[in-house]
C-alpha cells in the first residue's frame, strides 16, 4: 500500500518544491525579462485569435440557449444579463484557460521535455544557470499576466456574440442588450472573473513546467509529458473553478 502511495506523494512534493522555487525566483536576480516578453508573445498574442473565436461562439451559443428558455417566460429581454453573468463568472475564464492549457501547457511540457532528454537542462545547470529561474519563472509570470487579459477579451467578444443573437433573433436594441448586461454584473463578479484566470494561469504554467522538467525516456517520454500536462491542468481547472465558485458564493452570497 505504502509503495503504491509513494510515487504520487513524491511527485506532489516535487511539484510543491518547484512551485515554491518558481515563485521565490520572481523576487530574485537574475531576471530574464526578454524571456518573459517572448513567452507573453507566444502565449498571449499566439492564443488571441483562437480565444476570440471561442469567446464569440460561446456567447452566441449561450444567447441561443437562453433565448429559447427565456422566451417561454416572456423574459427574453434578460438575455444580456444571463450571457454576461455566465460568461464573466464561469464560461469565459474556464474556456479560455482550457484553450490555453491545451495550446500552451502542452507546448511548455514538450519544449522543456525535449530540453530535458537532450541534456540541455543539465547543460544549463552546468553552465551557471538555474533552469527554474530561466525557464519556469518567466513562463509563470507571462501566463499569469496574459491569461486574465485573454479572458477579458474573450468575455467581451462573447458578449458581442450574444448581442448578434439578441438583436438578430430576439429583436433587442443595442441599448436594451448592453444595459441589462452591464447592470447584471457586480464588482464581485468581475473580481471572481479575474481571480479564476489568474489561479488557472499559475496551474497551467506550473503543471506544464513540472511535467516538462521531469521528462525521462526520450521522445516517447516527451509525448507522455505533453499528454499528462494537458490532462492534469484541464482537470485542475475544473476542480479549482468549482472550489473558487463554492468559496465565493459562501463568502459573497447575496442577502
Amino acid at each position: 500500500m505504502l509503495d503504491l502511495l509513494k510515487p504520487p506523494i513524491e511527485a506532489f512534493q516535487e511539484f510543491v518544491l518547484l512551485s515554491i522555487r518558481a515563485v521565490r525566483n520572481i523576487f530574485r536576480s537574475p531576471h530574464y525579462a526578454d524571456d518573459i516578453f517572448i513567452q507573453m508573445d507566444v502565449i498571449g498574442v499566439g492564443s488571441l485569435f483562437i480565444v476570440s473565436l471561442i469567446g464569440l461562439f460561446s456567447g452566441i451559443v449561450m444567447a441561443l440557449q437562453m433565448a429559447r428558455a427565456l422566451t417561454q417566460y416572456g423574459a427574453q429581454g434578460q438575455v444580456g444579463s444571463i450571457v454576461a453573468i455566465t460568461l464573466v463568472r464561469e464560461l469565459g475564464p474556464v474556456l479560455t484557460a482550457i484553450l490555453v492549457a491545451g495550446r500552451n501547457a502542452s507546448g511548455i511540457a514538450s519544449e522543456l521535455g525535449s530540453m530535458k532528454v537532450t541534456e540541455q537542462i543539465d547543460a544549463m545547470r552546468a553552465l551557471g544557470t538555474d533552469p527554474i529561474q530561466k525557464l519556469v519563472t518567466p513562463r509563470l509570470i507571462a501566463i499569469a499576466v496574459v491569461l486574465p487579459l485573454l479572458t477579458i477579451i474573450s468575455d467581451f467578444i462573447g458578449l458581442i456574440g450574444g448581442y448578434f443573437i439578441a438583436s438578430g433573433m430576439l429583436g433587442l436594441t443595442f441599448s436594451e442588450y448592453w444595459t441589462t448586461a452591464w447592470q447584471a454584473l457586480e464588482y464581485n463578479d468581475l473580481f471572481q472573473g479575474l481571480l479564476k484566470p489568474f489561479v488557472f494561469a499559475v496551474i497551467i504554467a506550473l503543471v506544464g513546467c513540472f511535467y516538462g522538467m521531469r521528462t525521462t525516456g526520450g521522445t516517447q517520454g516527451v509525448g507522455r509529458a505533453t499528454t499528462s500536462a494537458v490532462v492534469s491542468s484541464s482537470v485542475w481547472i475544473f476542480v479549482l473553478t468549482a472550489f473558487i465558485t463554492y468559496v465565493w458564493n459562501r463568502a459573497f452570497a447575496r442577502q
Partner: protein, 297 residues
C-alpha cells in the same frame, strides 16, 4: 597490440587533488547507479571510463559536478566538498569544469556562437573575468567574449559556423561545437560523456584528436567516458605535438608523465577495475575483457 614503449605509467602528482570520490553511492528508484565508488583525479591526469550501458558512467560524471547528489559518501571538487552545497553555490565551482554531454546539450534556440559564449556570459566568475579583461583591453567585454568564442571555434575548426543553429549541423559538428563550448572557459577539469558515440570512425578519431589537443596544450585533467577501447588507447598512447600540429604516438621517457592515463571499468555502479592500460590488458576478469575484445585489442 600496444608496443612496449607505448606503455603509460600512472604517476600520482604531488599537486592537490582536483576531484575526489569517497565511498559514493547513489540509487535511482531502487536501481543502483553508483555503488561505493572511490577515486581521485589529479591535475594533468586522464581517466578513461569504460562500462556497459547503464553501468553508471554518465552518473559518475554528473555526480562529479553536482548535477546529481549521492545518497551517501563525499565528493570534493577543487578541494571543496560539494555533496551538500546548494545549487547556487555550485555555479562558481562548476565554472572551472568543462563538460561535453552525451546528447550534446547544445541549446537549440541559440546560434553556435551564442552556445559557445554561454559559459562566459552566464557563469558569474567567468562573466566578471570577461568584463575585467574587456575593460583592461579598452574595448569592452563583448569584444573579449567574441574573441574567445572565435578562438574556441577555430580550435575545433568550425569558425565558419558562428551564425548557424545546432540543428543545421551534422552530428560530428555538433559534438565539436560541444567541445568548443566545454573548453572556451579554459577549465582545469574536462568531462567528456561518450564523445564518439554514434559517430563514424573518421569523425570519432577527429573528436579524439581534439580532446588530445586540448589535454596536451593546456595540461587539463580529463575524464572521458566511452565504450570504445580504441578511444582509450589513443588517449593513453598518443599526444598532440604543438610544433607539427599533429597527433603522434607518445614516446617513453618525458612523454610518459605527460600522457598519464588511468583506466576505470564500471559494472552495475561499481568500479570493477582501476589501472593502467597494460594492467587492463592483463586483466583476466571476463567483464573487463569484453571491452578489450570490442576494441580489438
Amino acid at each position: 597490440m600496444l608496443s612496449p614503449d607505448s606503455d603509460t605509467t600512472f604517476v600520482t602528482p604531488a599537486d592537490s587533488i582536483i576531484l575526489r570520490f569517497e565511498d559514493v553511492s547513489l540509487h535511482f528508484d531502487g536501481t543502483v547507479a553508483l555503488d561505493h565508488v572511490s577515486l581521485e583525479v589529479h591535475p594533468g591526469q586522464t581517466y578513461v571510463v569504460f562500462g556497459a550501458a547503464g553501468s553508471g558512467k554518465t552518473v559518475l560524471l554528473k555526480v562529479a559536478v553536482g548535477l546529481a547528489r549521492p545518497d551517501s559518501g563525499r565528493v570534493s571538487l577543487f578541494g571543496q566538498e560539494i555533496t551538500r552545497l546548494r545549487e547556487q553555490d555550485l555555479f562558481d565551482i562548476r565554472a572551472r569544469v568543462g563538460i561535453l554531454f552525451q546528447e550534446g546539450g547544445l541549446f537549440d534556440s541559440l546560434t553556435v556562437a551564442e552556445n559557445v559564449a554561454y559559459p562566459l556570459t552566464n557563469q558569474r566568475t567567468l562573466r566578471e573575468a570577461a568584463v575585467a579583461s574587456g575593460s583592461s583591453a579598452g574595448n569592452g567585454a563583448v569584444r573579449s567574449v567574441d574573441d574567445r568564442v572565435r578562438e574556441s571555434l577555430r580550435f575545433v575548426e568550425l569558425e565558419q559556423t558562428l551564425d548557424k543553429f545546432p540543428a543545421e549541423l551534422s552530428g560530428g559538428m555538433r559534438r565539436r561545437v560541444g567541445i568548443a563550448r566545454a573548453v572556451v572557459s579554459e577549465p582545469a577539469l574536462l568531462l567528456y560523456d561518450s564523445p564518439t558515440a554514434g559517430l563514424d570512425p573518421i569523425t570519432a578519431n577527429t573528436i579524439i584528436a581534439l580532446i588530445l589537443k586540448e589535454r596536451d596544450l593546456r595540461n587539463t585533467a580529463t575524464i572521458m567516458v566511452t565504450h570504445r577501447y580504441q578511444d582509450g588507447h589513443l588517449m593513453a598512447n598518443f599526444r598532440y605535438n604543438p610544433n607539427s600540429g599533429q597527433i603522434e604516438r607518445a614516446r617513453g621517457g618525458g612523454d610518459v608523465s605527460q600522457v598519464s592515463t588511468k583506466f576505470l571499468v564500471m559494472n552495475a555502479g561499481r568500479l570493477v577495475f582501476e589501472g593502467t592500460e597494460p594492467e587492463l590488458q592483463a586483466s583476466q576478469d571476463s567483464y573487463v575483457r569484453k571491452f578489450l575484445r570490442v576494441g580489438g585489442a
